[in-house]
Each structure stands twice: as C-alpha cells, then as structure tokens.
C-alpha cells in the first residue's frame, strides 16, 4: 500500500487547493527608517509565496518610532509581525502576553536577520577632524543625537558611547558616566526620533556631527545633497541588532501563522539578505556580506549582550525614570 499516502496527499491537495488559494493579509509593524527596506522585501516575498503556494499575500506596513509602535501593538494594533529597532520594545509586547517570552531564541542570530551599527555623519571634508568618540567632546564640537527616552536609535547611540568609554584602558562605569555626561553637554537639540535628528543635522545645519544608524547615514549620503557629508567610522562601536518576531496571539487569531512564520524566515534567505544589503543594513549571510564588502567597511563592534547583558537590564540601568540618563543627560 505504498501508493496510499501519496494518493491521500494528492486528494488532500486537490481538496485543499481551492480553499487554500486565498488572499492573505499580513500587517508588519515596523520602525521609522525601514520604509524603503520593507517595500523591497515585501515585493520579493509576495512573488516568492505566489510561486510556491499560489496564494496572494498582501503585506501592509505601519512605520513610526519603535517604542510608539510597540505601544500601538500592545494597545491593539493587529500586527501579525513586528520588526522593531530594539529587543526591549518586542519584550514589552511579550510582557502583555501577545507573544511567547522566548521569542528571541525562535529565530537565528537573536532574531535579527540584519544588523546595523552606530557611526558618525560629519560635514564635508570633516572640518572639525572627528575620527573617534573622544573627538565628540572636544571644545566647540556640537553633537546631534535624538533623545534616548523617546528614540530606540538614540539608545543604541548612548550605549555605543558608553561601551567605547568602558573599553578604554582603565575604563570603568564611573569614567563612562563622566564621558557620556560630557558628551551630552555638547548636544544642542534633542529630537524625539532618529529621522528628526537627521533632519536637524542635514536640513537645519545644526551641529558638527550626527550620531546615527549606519543605514541612516548611508541613506543620507545617497540622497540629493548627500555629497555634503562624510561618514566616519569610530574605532569601536555597538552592533545594533533590530529584531523581528511573529506576534503569536494576533497571527493565531487571523489564521496567518504559516505565512507570518515564512515571512520572518524569508528575511534570512539569500534573496532577502541581498535586498537588506542594498538598503544599507548589514546582512548576516557571510556570502552576501562579502558581495557588499565595499559598502560596509570593517568595523570593530561589541554586542549589547557582551557589555550590558540584555535590553531589560540596559533599560533599567540607563533609560528608566531616574536612571543614569536622567542623572547625566542634558540640563544636568
């Protein structure tokens, strides 16, 4: 009876196909700078799914500040997938029971299919000779970075600066605190989000250096007027890992589990990794990374886990109410 399973499968397929060839809609709730990235990724995924399964998937996007987006999902925005700036924001969604606590181990590489890092954008020709974190606190240098209290990207910036000071010879928490405090005394404007800070630096001409996501810095350089800026890679910086996850409860409710799982896994595929690299995110795949080696210079990075443990700890230590940022941020 070797034929039987095959026959059954065939019958099942025939029965199931008309019912399965349905239109599926996914909602991906993401953060601000990923607009261009997911536009390209979604088109590729929709085509891929259509050839493999015959179903038409429509992917809707919502973009905004990472924390605000997480809050929207907690408050009922029916996201099937979240792709945010930092794990803390997905932790917050998971705390409200919308997805399993172990979400970050369900996908490879801390559930971050692509990474980025924190670099400097300076005025053309680097007139203030800014080459490393230490140069940001030189006399007369103005630094633009958003507010870590309201921006996920700014939290990566803060931790990158802290990690740099900590890793200096004889570095310790007190010295790091002193360094970051001085750094923030050089900040004239605290925008609420990363895009706002980029605009303050590029459009308003404020500051000598913008601390930014590498993907934002490279994008700013590609836009009209981008030749007015240079990207500077500091001696050491943080490996920023923007994570992705399927929102269990919503996917189960919408019956989109299968597609949602395939979608987040697709982000790790060679095809998607290539698109991510094109959009200035560092791919995880070594092959794709090799292909784009010219675009992503070698940079010495440390991870959040190595220096700070995890996001919950980092949040409590630095960014919670009354924590280190409140003690040393601008105005103090």
């Amino acid at each position: 009876m070797r034929l039987r399973p095959t026959l059954l499968a065939l019958v099942a397929t025939i029965m199931a196909t008309p019912a399965m060839a349905k239109d599926v809609t996914l909602l991906n709730v993401s953060y601000d700078p990923t607009r261009e990235l997911y536009k390209a990724v979604n088109a590729a995924f929709v085509a891929d799914w259509k050839t493999k399964h015959g179903d038409t998937v429509t992917i809707q996007m919502s973009h905004g500040g990472s924390g605000k987006q997480a809050r929207a999902v907690v408050d009922g925005l029916p996201a099937d997938v979240v792709t945010l700036a930092l794990a803390y924001d997905i932790d917050a969604v998971s705390d409200r029971g919308l997805l399993a606590k172990d979400w970050q181990t369900r996908l490879p590489d801390n559930a971050s299919p692509y990474t980025s890092t924190i670099v400097f954008l300076v005025r053309k020709g680097n007139p203030k000779a800014i080459h490393d974190w230490g140069d940001l606190v030189k006399e007369g240098v103005q630094v633009v970075t958003p507010n870590p209290k309201t921006s996920g990207g700014a939290r990566w910036n803060f931790l990158a600066a802290w990690g740099y000071a900590l890793k200096l010879p004889a570095g310790n928490d007190d010295k790091a605190k002193a360094f970051v405090k001085t750094l923030f005394q050089h900040v004239p404007v605290l925008d609420t989000g990363a895009r706002g800070a980029t605009n303050t630096f590029t459009q308003r001409g404020i500051g000598d250096v913008l601390i930014a996501w590498e993907n934002e810095a490279l994008l700013a350089k590609k836009e009209p007027g981008g030749d007015q800026y240079d990207v500077v890679i500091p001696s050491v910086t943080i490996l920023a890992e923007p994570p992705v996850a399927v929102v269990d409860k919503n996917a189960a409710e919408h019956g989109t589990r299968e597609v949602a799982d395939a979608y987040v896994k697709f982000l790790y595929s060679p095809q998607a990794q290539d698109i991510e690299a094109q959009n200035f995110y560092r791919p995880r795949s070594p092959e794709v990374a090799a292909k784009y080696a010219a675009q992503f210079p070698k940079v010495k990075t440390f991870t959040l886990a190595e220096v700070f443990g995890d996001w919950r700890k980092a949040q409590a230590k630095f960014f919670a109410e009354g924590a280190i940022f409140d003690q040393i941020g601008p105005g103090n």
């Binding site: 605290l190 459009q203 105005g331």
Partner: protein, 274 residues
C-alpha cells in the same frame, strides 16, 4: 420654569449631559483612574522632580505669555479688520484661520526651517545673538502661532456689533481718543478678550505637535510638559503619564476658573454706570 416657545428643555439638557459625559468626562475620568495607580509616593516623586516643574513652568508660562501677546496683537488686528475697509481685507480675514487648518507639525517644521541658524530669518538673527529655534523663545513663537486665531475670532463679532455711534457720542461729549478707548470701548471688550485669552492659553499649554520641532527639547531648559508625558509613555509607564496629564488638567482648570471669575467681575464693572 416658564414655558418656552421651543419645547424640549428636558431633552436638550439630557442630551447635553450625556454627550459631554461621553466625549469629555469619560476619557478624563479614565485618565484620573489610570493616574491613581501611581499612589502617593509616585505623586511625591513627580512633584519633587525639578524637571516636572521646569516643564510645567515652560508650558504654562509660555502659554500665558503667548495668550498676552495674542490679546494685544489680536485686538489690533481685529480692530483693523472690523473698522476699516481696505483692499485685501477679505484675504487677511481668511489668513487668520490658517493656524487652525494647518497640521501643527507642519507649522512647527516651517517655523523651525525659518528660524534655524541657516534659515531665512535665522541667518540674520543668529549673528545678532537672537536665537529662536531650539530655545524657549521658539516655544513661545510656536505657541503664539497656534493660538492666534482664538482672540481674533472671539473678538470679531463683538466688535462688529459695537456701534460706532457710541464712540462718536463719547467724542461729542468731549472725551479724548484715549479716554474713549479706555473708558468706553475697552470695558465692553474686556470680557470677550478674556474669553479669547482663556482659549488661547488652554490651547497653547497643551500644544505638542508644533512646539516639539522648534523646542530643542533639552531638559530643564526647553522641554515642555506634554513631552514629559510622551517620555513616560515610551517607558510604558502609563500611570505616571496619566498623572502628569491630570496635573496639567488641574492647572488648566484652575486658570480657566480664575479667568471666568475675573470675567464676571469685569462684566459687573462694565455694566455699572460710569
């Protein structure tokens, strides 16, 4: 109760109460309910923070100044619009409402673009030492902008119904221009000016969208109270955010009650025979 020509006191009162309850009181009581989560220690911490006070001072102090400026300028603009006929008057009249129609973020970005050190006005002002963008002055400017229409629009109908004969009469009885203005015109306008003042103040104090772009948002210097609320929300600390909201509401309510008391007092004063 005397019978009215139009029926339906019970119906209209019932509707008014139900509607206000649903639209205004329900969300506000939810806010107060949420705020009660932080408890006495949370409230104490909130009030002992210099940042809270600095932000409240900037939001309400800025709103107060903005409302004062709008009362003076608004009176002048309304006077010109109502009392004189000149080419372009209708266009000017229509322009008044623009701050209402414009998304506040657009206003904030436009003001910032103009007053930033590389902006049209900014690159003249900054070398003179006048910094507007990213300072409390910028906050004030944005507040003046968004609350400007309130004074003009409340004052306009009153000024239109104020007969010119009254001024002529005052003049024919030997009053000087200043006397006519101070003792005849102004007293009739004061209650309306106060209404406009109160509306402008309330609007400016709660303003977030436009101010946030021009403020610079530096704690203790140019950080407005609504931004503190947003920051608490980012920390998923809904209770403290709600408590700050309640504090702002309490401030606004107190100010509005005070203004309405002054208004009643000035109305009596205006009705007294001189």
């Amino acid at each position: 109760m005397r019978r009215r020509v139009l029926p339906g006191f019970g119906l209209s009162l019932g509707f008014a109460v139900a509607y206000l309850g649903l639209i205004v009181l329900l969300p506000l009581s939810a806010l107060a309910w949420k705020a009660s989560d932080i408890g006495a220690s949370g409230i104490l911490r909130l009030f002992s923070s210099p940042r809270t006070w600095a932000a409240l001072k900037l939001s309400f102090g800025g709103a107060f100044l903005a409302a004062c400026i709008n009362v003076v300028i608004g009176l002048m603009v309304t006077w010109a619009l109502v009392r004189y006929r000149f080419p372009g008057r209708r266009i000017l009249d229509a322009l008044i409402d623009l701050p209402f129609a414009l998304p506040t973020a657009v206003a904030g970005i436009a003001l910032t673009a103009i007053y930033a050190p590389n902006g049209w006005l900014g690159h003249w002002l900054v070398p003179l030492g006048i910094k507007v963008a990213y300072t409390p002055l910028g906050v004030l400017l944005a507040m003046v902008f968004v609350s400007f229409p309130f004074v003009v629009r409340t004052l306009q109908p009153v000024l239109q119904s104020l007969e010119r004969d009254v001024e002529d009469a005052a003049e024919s009885l030997g009053a000087t221009g200043t006397q006519t203005f101070l003792r005849v015109v102004l007293p009739t306008l004061v209650p309306t000016l106060l209404t406009g003042f109160a509306l402008a103040l309330a609007r400016a104090a709660g303003e977030y969208g436009s101010v946030i772009f021009i403020a610079g948002n530096i704690p203790l210097r140019s950080e407005i109270a609504p931004l503190l609320i947003v920051q608490r929300l980012e920390e998923f600390d809904y209770a403290t955010a709600a408590a700050l909201g309640v504090v702002m509401l309490a401030f606004s309510l107190t100010l509005l009650i005070l203004i309405s008391a002054v208004q009643r007092w000035t109305q009596r004063w205006a009705e007294q025979p001189a």
